[in-house]
Symmetry: C2
Subunit: 418 residues, 2 copies
């Protein structure tokens, strides 16, 4: 993509009252735009990041047998009344249609997926089933001041599993746990992310969260330094010692974190409300046992920025960077432009995604913009490097600068980026 | 995909009061589920169709310079007040947040995209720009009884173009027209789709629609039999003779059609309201000139079913079919199952998308389901064909049945499907 053609320009300052680090950097660099509190537009660069996060999550969900569907945002009041959440769920946005019926905007989809899957499952032979979607969610948050970490409209992957019994649920629950850690690994977040006990619900004493360490995280967790298990502050008074290794609470270290994923055993909490049962091997009617597994895509994007930045801007990991390479032509010398075009074409044809800064701007502006946007590899062609038939290569994640001969650029990237 | 694993089962009848042909067929075949009037879930088969339509449209939008973004559904009242559409636009779903502010669910996005693009365009050098999204839209339709043809929540591609003057807009408008016909060609709808004059708006006398002939279409159009230009009924009294070829109105033929796309010249209708202007080559401040271009993805899916079906079910075109091949194993004879598995693996490895009916169901049920689901090619392995080391191949679109030797199946598909 030629930067001269790109919709967005970088910004030194931003309008309005946005204070969260991730949103400020993403707005300044042209990844998102703020429409109103907790509501953002994904601009061309930001949508590319979101699509890459989406692809990673989709691949891993398919890997564990997930079947993708897409449920609506507009959900009828009667479904929420069945589960007693029309009144109980304060974060629901409610509205009325010209048909005088009331609706909620989907904040979660147990109320839709449960009666939907019920239409297709009758016997133990139809079980288990794993159904997920990647879809826009709405929550009527009274305060939404953490940028993409807490949106009022946000993109989420929600997976629901349907089982014949608790043993089968427990088995799949472990599979999803491993799948989530694979996702965090691909996002470069694994080392910062802790398996965390949190408050449960109707069916189990605890639920489980994936908490990613970050200075601006809204959650506080306690990490057992002995075994690395963590506990959300909301349950810490209930905990006597580490549930895993039995270490005493002296070993717990307090930290701020972002809840990047959460998984619940729902048991028959929702299947009961929708009379969703099946006929087992002995001809007996049994309740369906359910699990649900969430991960916020836009929140992941915000988290990545919170943990990968410096004073100059964002530092994207290769796996989700909108482009892998930022190619900067630092003068309008005709030979230099021609050479830059050649390299741009060569890299693109070799399968690299390249943002090519072909603008008529000063070297200082181009270098600053490259740091702010934060693509993994910066290639600079200046009058000086041109004389040496070379580009200057710098990774955004460190300060080393290397001169690479023109003809070796692709090989260098093949060896270092793939 | 093994059909034994698929979430959905086909249905002989459907619950509720759905009457529209496209929705009845799509629900019975397991492509969609109806949550409430005008609101549907896309099930695994349906989401695959939608994704293929989406890819075709995205490719063609990128081809004409479109930059993809994703705007929110939750849009502030103040933006709609600026354009006088908060009261004037009856189809807006309105709601209130815990912050006591009012919002509309996006029914169209001029009110969001105009101030957004304004932040990035200052001079003629920044123009033109073409910005699009593929996104969920909401319309508070009093009656929504045509299935996917008129949803209250539906998926739409909306492109907005920003120009320095009308000549540049007119130029791009023609480009989009050609792009849309390329899209309809890839969807197999081109021969049924007419370039149609419709009522305009503030800026131009007429807007233009793409109307696809269909018995259950909600629109009535008049086609000039001399030049194939069409006119929406809403403007036919204004028309004296064909605007294109000057043929008299005797030459017009009435037909029912579905509005599958529409394009508008907006002029400065929205840029004026948002004080969106630029500095031209002579240092003068000028209004931005805009165009907008819509195409409904879910409506396209409904249209495809309306025009491609018979008494037995749906007939998908290859370009959007969820799977290209339906492989049916018609007995549970061990050798037959083994051979079916081999062919399934061979086809999948050759890059074909295959739905493999490995269920323990009768041949009659399997054959009926295949007709209802409507994949382009059906391959049947029965005890009889097995003896001849062959599969029975039938296209959904005609009645010819051919016996193809096992080792020639991939070659046959390569020659006939690609």
């Amino acid at each position: 993509m030629r930067q001269s053609f790109l919709l967005t320009k970088t910004k030194k300052q931003i309008e309005g009252d946005e204070k969260s680090l991730n949103a400020v950097l993403l707005i300044r660099a042209g990844f998102i735009d703020k429409l109103t509190t907790g509501v953002y537009t994904y601009l061309p660069l930001g949508l590319k990041v979101l699509a890459k996060i989406e692809n990673i999550i989709r691949q891993e969900m398919n890997e564990i047998g997930g079947q993708e569907i897409l449920m609506p945002a507009l959900t009828p009041k009667q479904n929420w009344e069945k589960t007693n959440r029309w009144e109980g769920f304060d974060a629901l946005f409610k509205l009325q249609g010209h048909d005088n019926k009331e609706y909620a905007l989907g904040a979660t989809h147990e109320e839709v997926v449960t009666p939907l899957v019920k239409k297709n499952i009758f016997s133990y032979k139809d079980l288990p089933k794993y159904i997920y979607q990647i879809q826009d969610k709405f929550r009527n948050e009274p305060r939404a001041k953490s940028g993409l970490l807490r949106g009022r409209e946000f993109l989420m992957k929600d997976l629901y599993s349907f089982h014949k019994d608790e043993a089968d649920l427990n088995n799949y629950y472990q599979k999803v746990k491993l799948s989530y850690f694979k996702i965090f690994k691909r996002l470069g977040l694994k080392d910062l992310t802790y398996w965390t006990f949190a408050s449960g619900g109707v069916f189990t004493k605890y639920s489980h969260e994936f908490q990613t360490l970050a200075d601006n995280g809204e959650d506080i967790i306690y990490i057992c330094e002995n075994c690395n298990l963590a506990y959300n502050k909301e349950i810490i008074t209930e905990i006597k010692e580490c549930e895993e290794c039995k270490a005493s609470k002296d070993k717990f270290k307090e930290a701020k974190a972002i809840e990047t994923g959460n998984i619940f055993k729902l048991g028959n909490r929702f299947s009961k409300d929708f009379a969703f049962n099946y006929i087992d091997e002995n001809g007996q009617k049994k309740d369906i046992v359910m699990g649900c597994y969430g991960i916020g895509l836009s929140r992941i994007m915000g988290t990545l920025v919170e943990v990968n930045n410096d004073a100059k801007g964002i530092i994207w990991p290769v796996s989700v960077a909108p482009y892998q390479v930022h190619l900067l032509a630092l003068s309008d010398n005709k030979r230099l432009i021609k050479k830059s075009e050649d390299i741009y074409n060569e890299l693109t044809q070799s399968g690299y995604e390249v943002l090519f800064d072909d603008r008529l701007e000063s070297p200082g502006i181009k270098l600053n913009d490259a740091d702010l946007i934060g693509l993994p590899v910066r290639l600079v062609i200046s009058d000086k490097t041109l004389k040496q038939a070379s580009v200057e290569l710098k990774k955004r994640s460190n300060d080393n600068i290397e001169l690479i001969k023109f003809e070796k650029v692709v090989k260098y990237l093949n060896d270092n980026l793939k």
